[in-house]
Amino acid sequence: MNRRASWFNVTSIAFGLAFLYLPILLLIIYSFNESRLVTVWAGFSTKWYVSLFSNQGLLDAAWVTLRVALLSATAATILGTLAAIALVRFGRFYGRTLFSGMIYAPLVMPDVIIGLSLLLLFVAVDFGRGFWTIVLAHITFSLCFVAIVVQSRLSTFDRSLEEAALDLGCPPVRTFFQITLPLIAPAVIAGWMLAFTLSLDDLVIASFTTGPGATTLPMKIYSQVRLGVTPEINAVSTILIGIVSIGVIAASLVTKRREVARIRAERQAAAGIRNGI
């Protein structure tokens, strides 16, 4: 590569990262602003964080959101992992085209369509709208994201260990829990985290499927934003960004460490075989 091209590369990466991070950085900085105006700096203050914790409506919404996200991410991870296994391991089965279509379509389907259609379903079957309808809706779209993440891990991993277990007479279900699941665990965890943040983040689908009494944090933030920008929203946002960032970075460090440990263990095992054990 010649020098000019590499200068170009460095500049474009720097520009790209600045573009991605500057708005978030400014949002965080102005959450510590003394002034009520988000755009004029008037000195450092944590008063917006203090006022946050006396805003009962916001705290209630945060609690609802957290419960929805925990429940829906867990259910979506189980369903999505099953779906991924079906896609990767079962070859052709009856209705496979429809199945994979239903997995891939929600990834790009506009939220307004998913939200409206689920709401009309809940109304048609007369299912009381509120907390549980949001959970069901979130499970449905995030299970597809989990399926994609787990599928990409399943389709690249070495199946000889599974085959060895099956050859030694281990029943398929037990093989799954003892061999397959530990091997795909990083992808399953990543899928859970993705489902969790998708649920934490969703405004449109929750707005359609909710009922009286269940207001999620994004819905609360959205209605406040429509009234105007306040440092209090910056403070909530900063807390959310902090939690998600720490979670993602921690998870990636843990999986990396695990990966290194796994590779080392495999090398040792291979060396052991070579040495005639």
Binding site: N2, S6, F8, N9, S12, I13, F15, G16, F19, L20, Y21, P23, I24, L27, L79, G80, F90, G91, L98, F99, G101, M102, Y104, P106, V108, M109, P110, D111, V112, I113, I114, L116, S117, L120, L121, A124, L136, I139, C144, I148, V149, S152, E163, D167, P172, V173, L194, T197, L200, D201, L203, V204, S207, F208, V229, I233, S237, I241, S245, V248
Partner: protein, 317 residues
């Protein structure tokens, strides 16, 4: 021992097994009931009439009425909502302007994203995972919050105007917030990771010896880029474009928070029909037409994704 299994023979494919059956059936039934059936209900209600009732449409399909009840309900079906969509030019405008905004912003995201993905793929191997992490991290933080963060920047008295005034580039503040420009900025910002990741996946796999061969044969770098690099990155380009174009067409949050009252996008129209006018049948008809517009790109996207082209599968992580 009479037969030796070849590798891969343990595909549980030929073994009838209740556990295996459940693995497919559980997610299948779930998606069938909560993803496919709802579309049929949307379709059905788009042929209904608005009513001041709970639920606010008629006829209500009552399966308790048996076959005759269903037939009665079908007799009451009306195409009025669809006629209304063609009569009021507002809807056609909203569809067209959604598609226009989606096409233009997809091109913009590609233009901004390509150099970044290219730079990442050319960066030293040791720092590539970190760069990838930095691109993915904003994808994980809230979409709503990231859109919100631009309001403070683009406002009339916002940070961008303050900065430009301070630089002396402009003498009086620009109006950016609540215009289409703000919508484009918001879309490029929010959807950039969706474009960069498949592009990076395609460019990273590119064999550098191909470019060396081109250079050895006297090909200039710029020509080598267009003759070698770009064609080989096409699967990533296509995947990225689908991942941006389809959801942007139905986007609601960005035009609602950053756009002006004259920014017409169909996701917003649908939202208003539903929440402000409480016209569920019309909202359903709007959704059905939107789905018809998007069905071709969605099917192409699915086929490519299933064949693993363009590394769509690698997008979320």
């Amino acid at each position: 021992m009479t037969t030796v299994d070849s590798p891969g023979r343990h595909d549980t494919a030929n073994r009838p097994n209740p556990a295996r059956w459940l693995v497919v059936a559980i997610p299948y039934v779930w998606l069938f009931l909560l993803f496919l059936i709802p579309f049929l209900i949307v379709l059905k209600i788009s042929f209904s009439l608005t009513a001041i009732a709970q639920p606010p449409y008629t006829p209500v399909l009552d399966l308790g009425g048996g076959i005759s009840g269903v037939i009665e309900a079908f007799k009451e079906f009306t195409v009025e909502n669809y006629l209304w969509l063609t009569e009021d030019a507002l809807y056609a405008k909203a569809y067209l302007s959604s598609i226009e905004i989606a096409v233009v912003s997809t091109a913009l995201v590609l233009l901004v994203g390509y150099p970044i993905a290219y730079g990442m793929a050319r960066a030293p191997k040791a720092i590539q995972p970190m760069l990838l992490m930095l691109i993915i991290l904003p994808f994980w933080t809230s979409f709503l919050i990231r859109v919100y963060s631009w309001i403070g920047i683009l406002k009339k008295e916002g940070l961008l105007n303050q900065f430009l005034l301070w630089l002396g580039v402009i003498s009086k503040p620009l109006t950016i917030l609540n215009t289409d420009t703000a919508v484009y900025i918001g879309i490029v910002y929010s959807y950039l990771p969706f474009m960069i990741l498949p592009l990076y996946a395609a460019l990273e796999r590119l064999d550098p010896t191909l470019l060396e061969a081109a250079a050895d044969l006297g090909c200039r770098p710029s020509r080598a880029f267009w003759r070698v690099t770009f064609p080989l990155s096409l699967p990533g380009v296509i995947a990225g474009c689908f991942l941006v174009f389809i959801p942007v067409t139905g986007e609601f949050v960005i035009p609602d928070l950053l756009g002006g009252s004259n920014t017409l996008m169909i996701g917003r129209t649908l939202w208003n029909e539903f929440f402000s006018n409480r016209d569920w049948p019309l909202a359903s008809a709007v959704a059905v037409v939107l789905l018809l517009i998007l069905v071709v790109p969605i099917v192409i996207f699915q086929n490519r994704a299933e064949r693993g082209e363009g590394a769509i599968n690698k997008v979320p992580m």
